[in-house]
């Protein structure tokens, strides 16, 4: 059993650059937490602070209730998989995976069993006698993960490893996402929560591909008026936006929430068939760009007119960039 708590973590470098601001997170036993965010947002720095490779400037780090903020990396019982794999080129895959246990002077037979078990999970058994240079990038990534697995640590820290992660390893884990930007935590939740109810404009635009359409609109007379289009609102939505009357807000609509139907006219610029869906890019009015992911196979040509209807809409405060939500009563 292992429970990790990050309490008000800050990272301030010697040159006074702050990389992480007030990071709070509770990770329960068996839970998989994913940090997402653009380059330089502080994901790796946070991981390195947890691993003990970077000093924590402020805040506390607790593992099973024990304060390990100042504990050296070797005493934290954590394994980190680095983005660049950090494998020893002159050792075989087997030796790489066994290395940490060999240093601990564990019984060679125990090491062997652990390495073979990890290799089986990661589908590396046939590669054990090879050197890292003979493996593909994905295989090297798995070796780095195997090296962490054999140690059986309390916490695994993976720096960008998920692209080639074996499905067997993923199946028994719960996943939560921490979305970060500029060193700040923007939202913590399940992938669906972040997709469905983004807390702010950053999360809305970062999660989802193609990204959410964002339009500046004015709420007026119970309708939303944008450049080149108007959108009808339900009574519930009107009620929610009551305090924004005649103010500019940001309307967000995911491309997959736009369908063909009576409503808003758009002029097609690009038609991209994706198999089950068609990605249509166009303009509403003169320069209000919109992207729609329409069901089925469509064959629009550049310049064609298409009638669109907005499904689920998200609203954001233009000034704070926070989501506008129905207040709890």
């Amino acid at each position: 059993m292992a429970e990790l708590q990050l309490q008000h973590l800050d990272k301030i470098y010697d040159n006074n650059v702050q990389a992480v601001y007030d990071f709070n997170l509770d990770v329960k036993d068996g839970e998989l937490i994913v940090l997402v965010g653009p380059s330089g947002c502080g994901k790796s720095t946070t991981l390195r602070m947890v691993a003990g490779l970077e000093d924590i400037s402020k805040g506390k780090l607790l593992l099973d209730g024990r304060d390990i903020t100042q504990a050296p990396a070797k005493d934290r019982d954590m394994a980190m998989v680095f983005q660049n794999y950090a494998l020893y080129g002159h050792m075989t895959i087997y030796e790489n995976m066994a290395f940490s246990l060999t240093l601990r002077k564990e019984n060679p037979n125990v090491i062997h069993k652990k390495v073979m078990a990890a290799a089986e999970i990661l589908d590396l058994t046939a590669q054990l006698n090879k050197k890292p240079a003979q493996l593909s990038g994905g295989q090297r990534q798995r070796v780095a993960m195997g090296r962490a697995i054999v140690r059986n640590p309390k916490v695994f820290l993976f720096d960008e490893p998920l692209s080639n992660l074996d499905a067997k390893l993923r199946s028994s884990t719960r996943r939560e996402i921490v979305c970060m930007s500029m060193g700040h935590v923007q939202q913590v939740g399940t992938p669906l929560e972040l997709y469905d109810t983004p807390n702010n404009l950053f999360v809305a635009s970062f999660i989802g591909l193609p990204p959410m359409n964002l339009f500046d609109v004015v709420f007026e007379n119970g309708k939303l008026r944008g450049k080149g289009f108007e959108a009808e609102l339900s009574e519930e939505q009107k009620d929610m936006l009551r305090s924004y009357d005649r103010k500019t807000i940001v309307l967000g609509v995911r491309p997959e929430d736009i369908s063909q139907g009576e409503g808003i006219l758009a002029k097609v610029s690009v038609n991209e068939n994706l198999g089950m869906n068609t990605l249509v890019q166009g303009y509403m009015g003169d320069n209000c760009r919109v992207t729609a992911k329409l069901r089925g196979w469509a064959s629009y040509r550049s310049g064609d007119q298409v009638s669109l209807r907005f499904g689920k809409m998200h609203f954001f405060d233009k000034e704070t960039t926070n989501a506008i939500r129905k207040e709890a009563r």
């Binding site: 087997y94 030796e95 060679p108 037979n109 062997h112 069993k113 390495v115 073979m116 006698n129």
Partner: protein, 155 residues
């Protein structure tokens, strides 16, 4: 076969035969000790100049051959065991060439090799030979066990 033995044999598929390799390297170390000690007996006669010249050349050959064998046995290649045995026999034979001839010989009223030096160089060559034989035997045993195990896996 117990679980521990089975695991040890299976482990050989992925680990080097470091025991044999280190024994072969130890043989080189003792040969070097012999090599360093023997040149004190150079007294400038034609016979010893020729013998020591040949000894220098053989030592270079031995260093290379023993090193290659140490790398070969690391990978459980049984052929290198025979090479190591040949090198071991030559090391024993060398005791009867230079040290035995030099020990007790008098040139210009001076002993060519004293008792102390003689005992030392004989021990160096003998230990070097023992290391070579041990390396070869360990490798033979391990490589045969591994070959048998690999064959059973493929069957």
């Amino acid at each position: 076969m117990s679980d521990a033995i089975a695991t040890r044999i299976d482990r050989m598929r992925y680990t080097k035969n470091t025991a044999s390799s280190r024994l072969a390297l130890l043989a080189i170390v003792f040969d070097i000790l012999f090599f360093i000690s023997i040149y004190k007996s150079d007294v400038g006669t034609y016979y010893y100049t020729i013998t020591i010249g040949a000894s220098i050349i053989y030592n270079l050959v031995f260093l290379l051959a023993a090193f290659l064998c140490s790398e070969g046995v690391k990978n459980y290649r049984i052929g290198y065991s025979w090479a190591l045995i040949v090198l071991g026999i030559v090391q024993i034979a060398r005791i009867f060439i230079l040290p035995m001839n030099a020990h007790g010989a008098i040139v210009n009223n001076m002993p060519v090799m004293g008792d102390g030096q003689f005992v030392r160089v004989v021990i160096y060559l003998a230990v070097s030979a023992v290391c070579l034989f041990a390396s070869a035997l360990v490798n033979m045993k391990k490589s045969r066990t591994l070959a048998k195990y690999t064959a059973s896996l493929q069957a």
